[in-house]
């Protein structure tokens, strides 16, 4: 055909020097994890809205004779989870500066904090004086608690793997996308406790004192 077809193609972009490493928003996985978090936030929203819907249709909330739960230990969990966000943040800062030992320590500290929260939650499950099939209030408390418990388990497991890889010198200031996305997910799991804490422990007090 024409002459043009045997000429060298025109290359206006050269990818040779572009980085093969990613640190954040330049990595598709970062956006993928954001997508996962959006999905999970929709699930959290569905639970919270269902909760208030059921408060609305029930004349007394919590059900007759059911005292609102104690605030102390859930609040301690809340504080511990918020602190764990800080330790995860410091872990990320450390890996940015190639301080691998500090990174490993902060990461294990976060896992430890989450583990303490899991123990506290587990002990609290023993003290629930209602079953999930007693009334819809019980169903909600057990389901939402279990949902969040499983998420803390999976975040802690994933972060343990990150910490182990950190001990094997896998992460550094160049190769850190794994830490970045793990922190994203961690923050979601920790902060998801805020709405759950409010509806499980504060909402029943409000509805009770307001006379249902």
């Amino acid at each position: 055909m024409s002459m043009s077809e045997v000429t060298e193609p025109q290359f206006s972009v050269d990818a040779t020097q572009l980085s093969r490493f990613h640190g954040g928003t330049d990595a598709p996985i970062w956006w993928g994890i954001v997508g996962l978090i959006l999905i999970e936030m929709s699930v959290v929203a569905a639970f919270v809205i269902s909760y208030f819907y059921l408060v609305m249709v029930n004349p007394t909330w919590p059900p007759e004779g059911q005292p609102a739960s104690e605030l102390l230990w859930p609040t301690v969990s809340m504080v511990l989870l918020l602190v764990s966000c800080v330790t995860m943040y410091l872990a990320g800062k450390s890996v940015n500066r190639d301080r691998v030992t500090a990174f490993v320590i902060y990461t294990w500290a976060s896992v430890a904090l989450a583990t303490v929260v899991l123990v506290i939650r587990w002990l609290q499950f023993q003290t629930f004086d209602f079953s999930w099939n007693d009334h819809v209030y019980g169903s909600l408390v057990w389901t939402i608690s279990g949902f969040h418990f499983l998420h803390v388990v999976s975040a802690a497991t994933g972060t343990s793997v990150v910490a182990l890889l950190g001990m094997k010198k896998f992460f550094n200031s160049k190769q850190r996308i794994g830490v970045v996305v793990d922190t994203l997910y961690w923050n979601f799991v920790a902060l998801a406790w805020i709405p759950f804490y409010l509806i499980l422990y504060w909402a029943p007090r409000m509805t009770q004192t307001a006379g249902g």
């Binding site: 077809e5 193609p9 972009v13 040779t16 999905i39 269902s50 497991t157």
Partner: protein, 634 residues
């Protein structure tokens, strides 16, 4: 433009690249494929098989209804049939079919070599396959769900649906949403981060826009039905009280959760169809679609407004009047973006020489069918009228006009349009036109009389009716018409099978279209593009038809899977992504997760077993990818 290979596209020059991106042949290797074209193709083919199966279920139902007091089927089996028909068409045909087209076409249209997370893509396919096959196995065992595709409680509660059927429904619906959500995240990330350099958002093809909007809608709509079906499963398995009125639960909560997903679902199916229509119109009128910006805004607006419509499925549930009025207003509002699109299309068609090939015929068929569905939609949006025809055949007529017009016609247009790209051969135009004629006539003859039946009072979801009702003649005619419709679909199926080997060679760009997928060979090579393209216009193949004006990317390695990441808005080159190769782990993970979901129905503890096993599968999935071993970076 017939493109003979330039010297750097000879087989010798492309062999290493082809080798790198190859999907290994062989039966066992089939389960390791991750390339987007293989997975997209499987999604499309599998969804068509489910479409045919669900169609057969509909024909069996029509045979039962052919005469009053017919005894072909019993009531319970009939209930299973319509439940499976609806569930399959919505969850196992329409959504996966549109996603499959997106998975196959989007990377080609935006000029890249694969999706962002190829293994997740493969995992999504197996999840879909396992969920669909399980439901049909349940049907053959006579334990399919029988509470309608929306599974209203209290009918779906354990007290009224004691068998395993509903458990199959809750488990498999939760399970398949994993597939839909995985595909949605992938499509979003691929579209946002892997467009060819120069393809700003403002130059993105309309089909890609529609897939982007669809994916965002899936992201926010599907989690609600997942949450809902999990709560229903907990109710059924552990005697929880979410939807049980005596325990303080509320059956209406289910309807809210379901329709908050269910209404956007209709638009999740429709939005990509709108993208197909704009694409086909541009190609077959040979000029850019009128009002690109208006069409994009209309797509986005449709996505938003569709989340404010769900209550119009619940007009007869006794909700407060103010709420109902709000949703009526929202229902009227969606007419604005729909109107904008229709006017843009009319303006696009105006004064052009339309080439009436089969894809274009299906698009024109869409206009006719969908407008009738839209008209009855306006009617049922009015609360007094809806109260009258609710749960009657009028609604059956309406929803089939909307869904067949809004999804099936555009999907078939897309099938005829992109078949040559996927297979390298054109489908027969003669068979295509016959098929279109039969489908168009069959649709109208089958569903139009149902309006009348509904107005005469025939309720939905009844397995038989008394002779004295006087519905016999119309039902007889409808059943015959249903077979005309089925024959139309069958012709396309035959066409697709025959053309696979005997169709005319398509060449790279048989329709002289403007988008990038037509710059690849038909079918595309393992690597999609020899050199990733650089784009300078909205219609690269029209504006840059001259090969000397085409520009490319260089510097990607041929010895491992590499592709280019670009910035979100402007599509400036940003970094290079190293992609994973074929792997068996996505399949194994789908198996163990499927085991967990299926096992849950029989013994809740098995879910925990599946959960634990999936930890190992995920570890295996991530294990071989150790980039620090191949540290010979440039």
């Amino acid at each position: 433009m017939h493109k003979s290979p330039t010297y750097d596209q000879t087989p010798e020059a492309t062999a290493p690249l082809s080798q790198t991106w190859q999907s290994p042949p062989g039966f066992v290797s089939w389960f390791t494929h991750v390339n987007q074209r293989q997975i997209g193709y499987r999604f499309v083919v599998t969804s068509l098989i489910f479409f045919a199966l669900a169609g057969v279920l509909a024909l069996i139902m029509r045979l039962q209804l052919i005469a009053p007091e017919n005894t072909l089927l019993g009531a319970d089996f009939y209930n299973q049939l319509f439940t499976m028909h609806g569930t399959t068409m919505m969850f196992f045909f329409a959504v996966p079919a549109m996603e499959g087209l997106g998975i196959y076409l989007v990377p080609l249209m935006i000029g890249t070599r694969d999706m962002s997370f190829p293994r997740l893509n493969a995992f999504g396919y197996y999840v879909y396959l396992i969920a669909g096959v399980s439901l049909f196995v349940a049907l053959f065992l006579g334990m399919a769900p029988a509470a309608g595709w929306f599974s209203y409680v209290p009918l779906a509660n354990i007290a009224f649906s004691p068998g395993k059927g509903m458990d199959f429904w809750t488990s498999m619906i939760t399970f398949i949403e994993i597939s839909a959500l995985a595909a949605a995240v992938e499509l979003i990330v691929t579209i946002l981060k892997q467009r060819a350099p120069g393809m700003t958002l403002n130059r993105m093809p309309l089909f890609v826009w529609s897939i982007l909007v669809m994916s965002f809608m899936i992201l926010f709509a599907m989690p609600t039905v997942m949450a809902g079906s999990v709560l229903l499963a907990l109710d059924r398995a552990f005697d929880m009280q979410f939807f049980v009125a005596s325990g303080g639960g509320d059956p209406l909560l289910w309807q809210h959760l379901f329709w908050f997903f269910g209404h956007p679902e209709v638009y999740i199916i429709m939005v990509p169809a709108l993208g197909i229509i704009s694409t086909v119109i541009a190609t077959f009128t040979r000029k850019p679609v009128f009002g690109y910006t208006a069409l994009v805004l209309a797509l986005v607006a449709t996505g938003f407004v569709s989340f404010g419509l769900w209550v119009h499925h619940m007009f007869t549930t006794g909700l407060p009047h103010l709420g109902l009025s709000f949703f009526t207003a929202a229902g009227a509002m969606i007419a604005i973006p729909s109107g904008v699109q229709v006017f843009c299309w009319i303006a696009s068609l105006w004064g052009t020489r339309i080439r009436f090939a089969t894809p274009m015929l299906f698009v024109l068929g869409f206009f006719a069918i969908f407008i009738i569905g839209g008209l009855t939609g306006v009617m049922v949006a009015s609360i007094p009228f809806d109260t009258q025809v609710h749960d009657s055949y009028f609604v059956v007529a309406h929803l089939h006009y909307v869904l067949i017009g809004g999804a099936v016609f555009p999907f078939f247009a897309g099938l005829y349009y992109w078949y040559p790209k996927m297979t390298g051969r054109l489908m027969s135009e003669r068979l295509g036109k016959w098929s279109f004629a039969l489908i168009f006539i069959g649709t109208n003859l089958t569903f139009f009389p149902m309006h009348q039946l509904g107005l005469e009072g025939m309720p939905r979801r009844i397995y038989t009716y008394l002779e004295g009702m006087g519905w016999g003649d119309l039902n007889f005619a409808i059943t015959l018409a249903a077979f005309v419709l089925a024959a139309g679909f069958l012709l396309t199926l035959i066409n697709a099978v025959i053309s696979r080997t005997r169709g005319a060679e398509a060449g790279d760009n048989p329709w002289q279209a403007d988008t990038l997928e037509w710059a690849a060979t038909s079918p595309p090579q393992n690597y999609n593009f020899r050199h990733l393209p650089v784009v300078n216009s909205r219609h690269p193949l029209w504006d840059e038809a001259d090969l000397t004006r085409r520009q490319y990317v260089k510097g990607l390695r041929a010895d491992r899977r590499e592709l280019l990441v670009t910035t979100l808005l402007e599509a400036q080159p940003q970094s290079v992504l190293i992609m994973p190769g074929p792997s068996i782990w996505p399949f194994l993970l789908a198996l163990v997760v499927g085991f967990g979901f299926l096992g849950f129905m029989f013994q809740p503890l098995l879910f925990v077993v599946g959960f634990a096993l999936s930890f190992f599968a995920i570890t295996g999935w991530l294990w071989p990818r150790k980039p620090w071993i191949s540290t010979k970076e440039n």
